[in-house]
Every structure is written in C-alpha cells, then in structure tokens.
Symmetry: C2
Subunit: 578 residues, 2 copies
C-alpha cells in the first residue's frame, strides 16, 4: 500500500479522554475512530489487524473441530423470556421494537439462539457432541464505555457453544477449547494466564477459566503462584489452608469471654489505636443481606471479606452489605458493635483466618461494648468455617508447598465456561440416548473478545514512541521509508523494493508522501511495523538502512538484496507469509 493513498492520519497528541495507553495509541496511530461512546470505526490499518486476529481465532477453532456458523444480532425477545434473562440482563441489553411492535434484543451473547437452534436440529445422541462457533458483532450497553476497545458497546467476539450427551463429554469439549485458547493467545503474541474464575452472572455449574492478558490497565486482579501453575482471578483465588494466626498474648488457658466498655469505638482502626493491639487480634464482623436474609461473616481484622466466596458458598443469587437500618433491626445494635459471640438467630460464617486465631476481640452486640478472650474453638462452635476472605499478595500458595501468591492486573481476553444444563433445561434442548430415553444436553460456552485482543496486544507491546506489533498481528510487515521521494535514486529503489517484496507475499507499506524525514520516522515509530527500511543517501550505491521496531537502535546498512533476504527469513521463521 502506498501511504499517500491510505486513509491514515496519525495524531501527535493523545485525545484528552483516552486514559489507557492502548486507547491512545489506537487513536494516534489511526487504527480506530470513535463514532459514539464505546462505538468505533476500524480504519484501514485497524481493519487489517482485526482480520488477522479473526483469522487466527478461526483457524484454531477449526483445528479444534468446532464448526463455524453465523447467527443474527437481532434476537426475538421471546427467546430471552424463555431463558429468564430478558428482565435479569438489565439495561446492558439493547432492546428495540420492529415496525410491527415486536420486541427484539441486540445479542450480547447467543446462548438462547444456539440452544433453540440445536434443539431444533439435533434429536439423537448419534449427532452429539458438537461445538459451534461464530465470529460476530455483539452489543452491550455498558454504563461506562471506556479504554477504547476494552469496554465498548459494539464489539467483535468469537463465541462458541458445545453440546454433549454427558458431563464427561462436556469435560472433553471444555478442555479442547481451553487448549485452543492457549494456542490462539500464544499465536497473538500475548503474555497471558489462564486463571480459575468465578461463574458470574451468566450462571451455570462447574469449572470456568478466564484468559487474562497481563497489563496494568486490566480491570481484574489475578493471583498466580511463584512456583506452581496455580492462577486465579482474585475474586476466586483460594486462601491457603495452612493459614495460621499467632496472637502475641501467648497460649495459656484463658478465662471466659470478657465484655469491656469501648465507647464510640467502632472500627478496626479505632480499636487498634485505643487498645494498643494489632488488627490481626480482632475479629472483623460484617453483616450481609444474602437473598434478603442476614448473614454475619467474620475474618481476621487485617483481612478483607470476599463477597463472591460467601455468595458462592451459600449458593445465593444476591449479596450486599446490610444497610444500618437492617443491622439495627436484625441485631438490635448499631453497626460497629456486631460480633459472632451471642449473635442469635443469624448464621455466622467464620473464615479460616478468624477460626484459626487462638483468641480475639469482637463486638459484643451491645452498644459501646466488645468482647475479648473469644476463643473460636470454644466460643464460636456454631459458626460454619470456610474460605471467605480475599487472598493477599505474598501469602502461601493454596496448591503447592513452596510458592507464594503474586498479583497481576489482567485484561480478560477469553473465557471458557461449563454451562451445564442451565439453558438446555429452560429451552428444552433434549436428545434421545442410546436406550431411547430423553436426556438434557450438557453445554459449555466459550468467548473471545476479538476486538479486545487489539487493545491487549498494544498494552503489552509499545514504547514511548508508539506501537511495537507482534509479527502475527501487524497491519503490514515492512515499512519502506524513502527519505526524500523527490530524490530519483531513492524513489526508484523504494519502488523496486516495494514491488519485489510484495511479489514474495510480504505486506508492505511504502511511505511515498512528500513529507520531511522526521515526520515520516515519527509516524513509522507510532504505527510500529516490525521492519523499517530507510532508503536514503546510499540509495545510489544500492544500500538501505534496516532496523527492527523492537530494537530501533540496531540499524544495519544492507544491500537491497540482503534486506529482502532478511525479511523473508524473518517471516519464514515465524511461519508467516506465502
């Protein structure tokens, strides 16, 4: 492509509202343009990268035996009512009416459509298992679209759905997709982790992994082990069972819990400073409304409660911290003086960090009073003990003996999920098994944010001057930059290289603009193609300057022939090109 003809404008300055580096660079390098909040046009360069990502995803889905189809974005509301999601999905679901007043949703996902399709098409176990996928535009009316392609309202996804006759089959289908995802993100050149994750709002039973591209801008925190393979979303990361608490006060036999006056001392910080104890000696107790019922959760004072773990432990739909009025109504006392001892008619969940304390301090369920000398193993035997806290960086790995947990921020680029029978039951997707008995199909669903990959790749591959594309996702492989197009020798050699490289299947961008060399170099850095060939004053001698974007200072003067050989060699090694 000749750059003079390309619809490409680079920007010197970052648009003010672009917070994420990838968002800034996508705009500055002319890859995307915003049409409305969270809604973008892919410009020619951006479209090329997006198509390469699509193609990688498609190839690996096909390799994994998944079949491509294409479902509509406009989905009848009736289907969403059948699954029960039409109300639940809330304002993120874009709704519309057709000219006859019939309600439709613009699909943020396609469980309903695919389940009703497969129900229609497959009735025998002989036709199972099957995994179907599409690469298709999705709609989600985000409350706060941001970070460019990371959180948009119209975006490109690959979504796949597996249908199996039994749970062992689902397991095989699930891991087939899991491994395909590994191959996809590896080919995209991403630094990523597959992490154990929470099931979330999509529902369903069983395992789920998120594929997280590591990046500071990521909205998720993931915990990984320094020694073993363990990696989990922070929401889900298990705390090590060997979590022990040593209280300074020694181990001698203690008397009964002792109530003492703590006027207006409500918070852990206030207790610490007024009593001169460590936070780790206090039992932090918080009252939650779980599906409308009160539940008290207790962790050690220096730890945080993980609501998702509580919710998941109780199999609940909804959890929120009880408001002060509810606290008063349920316990007869103000927030700040709740404690697990003597709390009647309310379930108490004791995190291991609290259960393993030798003894501790907690609210007395009476205004301005706390207890001390509370011994969990003696005084809190009616509580249920479990893992209810958020892990902390540096603590022991829950899986291996040697590692500790290290935290990263991650961008979710993929998600594999065992749905089970959630949709097949609601929509009646059954099949006849070998004995002629009707059974419910067992489903999995598997998503990749194809457009999001672009952002993740840029977050991980840039420097101060611009993008540094990994080879698999480049808009073009080579940037040919004649220093002056008015110089005949330079123009001739540039043109010759342009034709030669293209004839070998190399994708070439020729900067044939009549611009100052400085402007061209700045643009080339910003756009970030892997190889830059500068055709300058040595053109007459047949020499060009060869440099790779990832190490811009290693410039080599080469003959045109050698430059071509080097490029072909690089692409061959990477198994790219023709």
């Amino acid at each position: 492509m000749r750059q003079s003809q390309l619809l490409l404008n680079t920007l010197r300055e970052s648009p003010g509202d672009a917070e994420a580096v990838s968002h800034q660079l996508l705009l500055r390098a002319g890859l995307i343009r915003q049409l409305a909040a969270g809604i973008y046009t892919y410009m020619p360069l951006g479209r090329r990268v997006l198509r390469k990502a699509e193609q990688i995803v498609r190839e690996e889905m096909d390799r994994a035996g998944a079949q491509e189809l294409l479902m509509p974005a406009m989905q009848p509301a009736e289907l969403w009512e059948e699954s029960g999601r039409y109300e639940v999905y809330g304002p993120e679901l874009i709704r519309l009416k057709d000219r006859h007043g019939r309600e439709f949703a613009l699909g943020p996902t396609h469980e309903e459509v695919i389940t009703s399709l497969v129900k229609q098409e497959i009735s025998s176990y002989r036709r199972l298992p099957v995994t179907l996928y599409q690469i298709q535009t999705k709609y989600r009316d985000e409350r706060r679209p941001r970070f460019g392609l990371l959180r948009g309202r119209e975006f490109l996804m690959k979504d796949a759905y597996s249908f199996d006759p039994d749970w062992e089959g689902l397991d095989r289908s699930y891991w087939e997709m899991y491994h395909a995802y590994h191959r996809i993100f590896e080919r995209c050149g991403l630094n990523f982790r597959a992490v154990e994750a929470d099931a979330g709002a999509i529902g369903g039973e069983g395992g789920t992994h998120e594929f997280m591209a590591l990046a500071d801008i990521g909205e998720d925190t993931i915990a990984t082990c320094t020694c073993c393979d363990y990696a989990a979303n922070l929401e889900k990361a298990e705390s090590g069972s060997n979590f022990k608490t040593v209280i300074g006060a020694g181990t001698e036999d203690l008397g009964q819990p002792e109530k003492f006056n703590t006027p207006a001392i409500k918070t852990i910080d206030q207790l610490v400073s007024s009593l001169g104890v460590r936070a780790a000696e206090i039992m932090k107790t918080v009252l939650f409304a779980v599906d409308g019922e009160p539940v008290a959760v207790v962790v050690r004072g220096d730890q945080e409660i993980n609501e998702l773990k509580v919710k998941s432990f109780l199999g609940a739909e909804m959890i929120e911290i009880a408001d002060p009025e509810s606290v008063q109504a349920w316990t007869g006392v103000q927030v700040g003086f709740i404690g697990p001892y003597g709390l009647t008619n309310i379930s108490v969940l004791l995190d291991h960090s609290a259960a393993e304390m030798e003894h501790g301090i907690a609210g007395a369920n009476e205004l301005d009073y706390h207890y001390r000398q509370l011994v969990p193993s003696r005084d809190l035997t009616h509580s249920k003990v479990g893992d209810f806290r958020t892990v902390q960086e540096g603590e022991p790995c829950p899986r291996c003996a040697d590692g500790t947990l290290k935290f990263y921020r991650g961008i979710e680029v993929g998600h594999v999920f065992k749905l089970g029978t959630k949709y097949s039951e609601k929509l009646g997707a059954t099949f006849l098994d070998a004995s002629g008995k009707a059974q419910t199909m067992i489903m999995g669903c598997y998503g990749i944010g194809v457009s999001r990959i672009l952002s993740a790749v840029i977050e991980q591959n840039h420097d101060d001057n611009g993008i540094v594309w990994p080879l698999a996702l480049v808009p073009y492989h080579v940037h040919l930059v004649p220093v002056s197009v008015k110089d005949e020798e330079q123009a001739r050699l540039a043109e010759e290289l342009y034709q030669r490289l293209q004839s070998k299947g190399v994708e070439v961008l020729l900067d044939d603009r009549d611009e100052r060399a400085g402007v061209k170099f700045k643009d080339a850095d910003l756009i970030g193609l892997p190889v830059r060939i500068v055709i300058g004053k040595d053109a007459a001698a047949g020499l060009v300057e060869y440099a790779e974007r990832h190490s811009p200072r290693d410039k080599t003067s080469l003959s045109a022939d050698d430059a071509v050989e080097r490029i072909l060699g690089m692409l061959n090694t990477a198994n790219i090109g023709h």
Copy 2:
C-alpha cells in the same frame, strides 16, 4: 468434514411459506434457518458459501484499489438528522434508544457515517481520491420480508464509497467499481446484466447501474437489446426515438378538433368498443399530483405511463396519480374526460408515442365529451414532448438500428451510483484544492448484497433434485459417498481418499453416516457439490464411481488415483484450491 459430525439436516419437503426456489433449497439443503421473519442463521454449510462470496468481493475490491474498513451498525440519530434522512427513511429504519435515552439507527447503509469520517480525516486535495469499503451486516425493517435471503431484515452487504475532488474523478472511480462488479459476478458464476437504472430514493445526480442476476423470481424487470449492449431497468429503459404511429385514417388534411358526445364512456376499453377504433388512436391522459401540483401526462392509448420518468423529467420528489377530488378541483371535470386540448393552467407532458400520432381522440375536459381529429403538431404545441412511457417487449432498441428489446426478470445483486454532492454538502465534507479554495467532495456509492448472491446463484443453478453449485461458491468441492460404511473395503478407501484429497487442499465432505445409499444420494443431490465420488462394491478393486453434479448421468468408473487427478485438474483449471 465428516458428515456424521456436521450440523446439517436436509429436509425432504419444502417449508410451506418458502415461495422462491432458492429459499426452498437454502432451507432444504440445510444452509440457513430462520430465527424471525427475514432474519436467518447461516448454518455451517451456508457460512462456508457466504465466506467464499465475501472473499471474492474482498479480493476484487482490493484489486480495484479500494481500502477496507469496518463501520458500526449503531449510528447516532444526529447524523441521520444532518443528512435529512432520519424522517424520510420511514419505518424501514430500525431505531433504538440507549440506556441514556440517546437515539440510534441500525445502519441500512453508511453514507452519513463515511461522509462524516472522511470529512474529519481528509482536508486536502492531495489525499483524494479515495474509495473505502466494508463487508458488514445491514438492517432494514422490510414491510414484507420474503424469498429467504433475497429480502431480509438483517443481511450482509459490501458497501463502498468513493470521494473525488471533481466530476471527472467520480467518473473514473465509478467505472473502476463498475468493472470490479463485473469481475465479482463473473467469478460467482452468475448470469447477470449491468443495467441503467433510476436514481431512486437514495438521491443524487448522474449515472447509476444495477447489476441484475437473471432469474424469474426477480422483483425487477430489465429490458435488454437483442443486438447491442443496451440494458436497463424497465423503470428507466428509454423508448426508441424512432417510435412512429400510423393511424388507419390516412394522412389527408384534417379539420379542426371535433367534439363529440361520449356518454359515460370513460376508459380506453370503452372508447375502443363503442367507437370501433384501436387503442393506438386514442390519447391516454392521466392527471398526476407532482410535488402537490397538477401535471397531465399523455401517452398513446396502448402504452403505459412511466411515473419515474415523469418524476425524473420534472426533478420532483413525489409523484402520485391525482385522486378524483383533486381531478375535479383542478379541471372542473370527472376522471375519464380529461384531455390535453384546452386544458388550461395545467402543464401537459406529451410522450413521443402521443406526439407522433398523426391525429387522435382525447377527453374534451367536459363531462361526456371527447375530441377527435386532434393533431398534436397543430393542437398541442404548448405541451412538452419527452419520453414518459414504459417500453414494451419487442419494440426497437433506443440505441442501435437493428435490435429489439427483450425483457427478463432480474435480482438486484449490485448497484453502483454517482451520489455527487448530496451527502458531502449536507454534512460539510469539503477539501482545499490546489489553490487553497474549499471545494465539496464528489461522492459515489457502491453496494453488493453479499448474502443475496447465495439466493441468486441458487435460482440460476439448480435442478429438480437440488442445488448445482458453481465451483467458486461451493461449500465443499467433493462429496465422498461410501455406499455402506460397514463395508471395510469401502470405509478404508473412502478414508484414504478423504485424507489424500484434503492434503492437496481439496475441500471434502465425507458422508460417513450409517444411512441407506438412497438417502445419501438424495442428500448429495440436494446439497449439490460439484463432484461426487461413490465408493461401492468395486472398492475392493480400487475403483470408484466419478460423477459431476451438473451432468449426473455421466458416471465413470475410475481408479482412485485417476479420480484424484481429475478433481485436481478441474480445480486447477478453475484456478481454485492450493
């Protein structure tokens, strides 16, 4: 692909509501499934064909120098208000509100988005011309979706837009696209004509061609010359200027127009039977409301008025036949007695067919009276003469001396259109010319119904037993059909061929289902892959039966090697495969 694993169900019977053959076969061969009226899922086989059509379109767009981008389906209503189309487009435009109450349209086309984008990105003549395209899902809330993919509500289009600094440039861009369209439809194996067409509701000045795939189901009629290249949409087809009318009554000098009593005789038919004249001796006069003003249009009694030609001649926005009340109000007389002679204060348009009559009969603008001996060249000199009628099959070609017009039905698969400045003016897309003066960009737009191509191809390529795919758009190249998968020799040879052909880049569907041979053959006919290899009782001797779908009776017994050679030869000749 192994057919036992493919999500493919064939149907023996046509679904009752599928009128068009292509619609029936798309459903019966399992290529598409309906989700809602005019909204379809592309099943794995259909998706493969659609992708091949996409790829042909993409390659030819790229070859023509167009740049691919991808614009959103969700378009802010403000843009449509700027162009003035938000109201005009009517109920076909799907509208929705986001969670903040902002209005959006789901794009049926992208003139507004692309014009505002190019306005933003290009400010100098140096960056022009540019042609941009996308292959993207469009939405149009058809009043009556039908014929499967021919008239859907969610469909795949290729839309392209050219921006030029001047009209000569538009002409070049236009013909570049025109020729690319020829290549595309030729590669798709379509029997098509590029026809001159009317500008229609999209607006704009200058030339426009429709690409029509010939098919009886087509909603358009096209007129083509039997000798020369002339072809036009019937709406637009010009009548030959050599249209002459010979009246039986001879050529002697006639007296003044003679009024005569015709009680309750209002229609051409009534005149013909009561007066014993031919329809060709009568001047058919119809009153229209054109942008609210009365216009009388006169054609020879055996001809039909073409409203589009009248509208276009007058440069009007709206034309409709005047209702009886308006006729009475404007002329003082009933419908049935209007005539061009003595019609005061009303414009009269005289079609050549009427203007070239020697003399004729017409309403006298007085109840129950007509005139005869009306001589156009003497009595109707205040009329404007032009081409206001719809041409008829068999009449002389308007372009060449020898040909006559022949009619076909056509499916519009493509449209190239000189938009001019309609959108660039409204949205302010200007550029600075070489002298630094602001000029308005000159636009063209170019559409292809990518999903519609599938229907058109099937309309043209089928027999009683199913589809007969042209090689470029096949779901797979070869259908391998072992007669019995339980026969070890057959299964072994089928598997061997399956592997060998695939390793050569041939796309193979292996019918490994444990079904009766008759069922397999019927399905194979229906799906219509170009080559069928039956592996039957001669498998032990290494022989297979080779047949091509377009001549199913020519069956040849070949060695497996020869069959492979023949397939590779066919694909090589067609320049398909690897």
